[in-house]
Amino acid sequence: MKILVCISNVPDTTTKVKFAENNTKFDPAGVQWVINPWDELALTRALELKDNSSAGVASVTVAHVGLATAEPTIRKALAIGADDAIRVNLEATDAYQVAAQLAEVIKNEQFDIVLCGIESSDFNGSTVGSMVAEFIGYPSVSAVSGLNIENGQSVITREIDGGKETVSVPSPFVAIVQKGIAKEPRIAAMRGIMQARKKQIKVVEPIAVDALTEVVSFEPPQPRAKCVFVDAEDPKQLVDLLQNEAKVI
């Protein structure tokens, strides 16, 4: 069984976000790039399944759509334990376009399970995983917080509004994963970092697909009013403000 984990390269979550070119582009100056947090959890779960011999996972590949500047992030995924990597050489600006590229990778390489994080922490689209599935006609399961393989069958926990379901879909399938899929992201050990240097990153050129969206401009969030402090001895004052000023209780 082969697993593919799709990874996105995003600014570290503590980055102070700035924009350039008239607020139309993210300003990458001084930014630390990391594997998108949910993709990192997806990768961790894929590797846990590979470690568990009864799951029958032969290999874990990562795929990324982006320019060569993302290679340190891809190397990190290899250092954490992915066997190999594929990079589609295209600047990722539109989910539809990215998903089409990943679908092409899957068509050419064939995987049994494709894992995608629920969203990327930069565009917050929550769309690529399910789009990939539709492009290649695979079943997809969203909001996945647990994934096991028992006797070659997927056992998937998905969150629904108001609870959880245990479901199964036949392979090949796409699982869009979120919190709970793995406890903590796996960290690269020195041995992994050494090995990663020798692992292959296969670079493929993109297929022609039109973008369906275009960012016109970015804006900072609305500034919030300055905090009004209330005496800790007198919470009545707070209740009064919430009731009569904010009118929320």
Partner: protein, 323 residues
């Protein structure tokens, strides 16, 4: 042409989110000079369906299908695509929740329709069609042009005010060619959360962080949530420690919520936490560290020890509510 809005039901009932979606779709339809049509899938009684009309749906398509009894993203996508075509919908609205996120992107590919996901306002313009959405996990917003003929929008929960109108909707039975053979998902087990208010539905959320010091100290926080008829939540370290269940984790990697009122108690306000709660209309922070970043995000703050402040606050709320 029309605006189609998918309204999910919970055991045959709609909730505020459904009406919020219809209110939103009706306004988008107005901007486009057309009307909103609601799509309901499942067993919902006519009097419940007619409620969608009160929020501006001109017509309700009532689709009952054995194949759609459980959520199979492929079958749902195929069914909704058929309705989109029949109703000549140019905009399709979903909730930005688990259900919406599992269908909208697939529908996007099927119809070659751009998705504006996680929108929190009406479109900025319709020619070109530009939407305003959350980006960089709440550290920015983006104006995004959707360049396809059909557009799909997913609306953030609790971001749009309900708009009741004197309108009545006609109810029409829908039909699609989707059948059971298409369904690949098998549901083996369902665990429903019962009794408690869902975190994502709550208009008031009371969240605790590491400053609560121990799992044993949650009683006054739960009591505050109870008297306010809100839901309880927690920061990531708290769920990682196992003090509270993972379902309660609000923040970037947990649940994204936007209640009217969010209490951050003993939560320092790390960027990752704020990413999940910054769309709340009001944030109240209670923290013993006056320099905690949570106070920069909060409108109201109390510097103090949660264990001492909470019981007094609970009493004050009870008193105010009794009036």
């Amino acid at each position: 042409m029309s605006v189609l809005v998918f309204t999910e039901n919970w055991e045959g009932k709609f909730k505020k989110l459904s009406f919020e979606l219809v209110s939103y779709a009706a306004k988008v339809a107005e901007m486009l000079g057309t009307t909103a049509i609601a799509l309901s899938i499942g067993d919902v009684a006519d009097d419940e369906l007619s409620k969608l009309g009160n929020y501006g749906a001109k017509k309700v398509v009532n689709l009952k299908s054995e194949a759609l009894k459980i959520l199979d993203s492929q079958a749902y996508t195929a069914a909704i695509a058929e309705i989109v075509e029949k109703e000549d919908a140019k905009v399709v609205v979903f909730a930005n929740n688990n259900m919406g996120k599992s269908i909208a992107p697939r529908l996007s590919v099927k119809l070659k329709a751009a998705v504006g996901s996680g929108v929190s306002k009406l479109p900025v313009s319709t020619e070109p069609f530009v939407v305003y959405k959350r980006a960089y996990s709440g550290n920015a917003f983006a104006n995004v042009a959707l360049k396809s003929d059909i557009k799909i929008l997913t609306l953030m929960q609790n971001s749009f005010d309900l708009a009741e109108t004197a309108n009545e909707a006609s109810i029409e039975a829908g039909s699609v060619s989707v059948d059971g053979a298409m369904v690949k998902t098998q549901v083996k087990d369902v665990q429903k959360q019962t009794g408690r208010l869902l975190l994502t539905d709550a208009e008031i959320v009371v969240a605790g962080g590491r400053g609560m010091k121990s799992a044993d100290n949650w009683a006054p926080l739960e009591e505050l949530a109870e008297v306010l008829e809100g839901a309880t939540a927690c920061s990531r370290p708290v769920s990682d420690e196992g003090w509270r269940p993972h379902e309660e984790h609000t923040g970037q990697t947990g649940k994204i919520v936007a209640p009217n009122l969010y209490f951050a108690i003993g939560i320092s306000g790390a960027t990752q936490h704020l990413a999940g709660v910054s769309s709340s209309k009001y944030i109240v922070a209670i923290n013993s560290d006056k320099d905690a970043p949570i106070f920069d995000a909060a409108q109201y703050g109390i510097v103090g020890d949660a264990a001492k402040v909470l019981p007094k606050l609970v009493e004050a709320v009870k008193e105010a509510k009794a009036k």
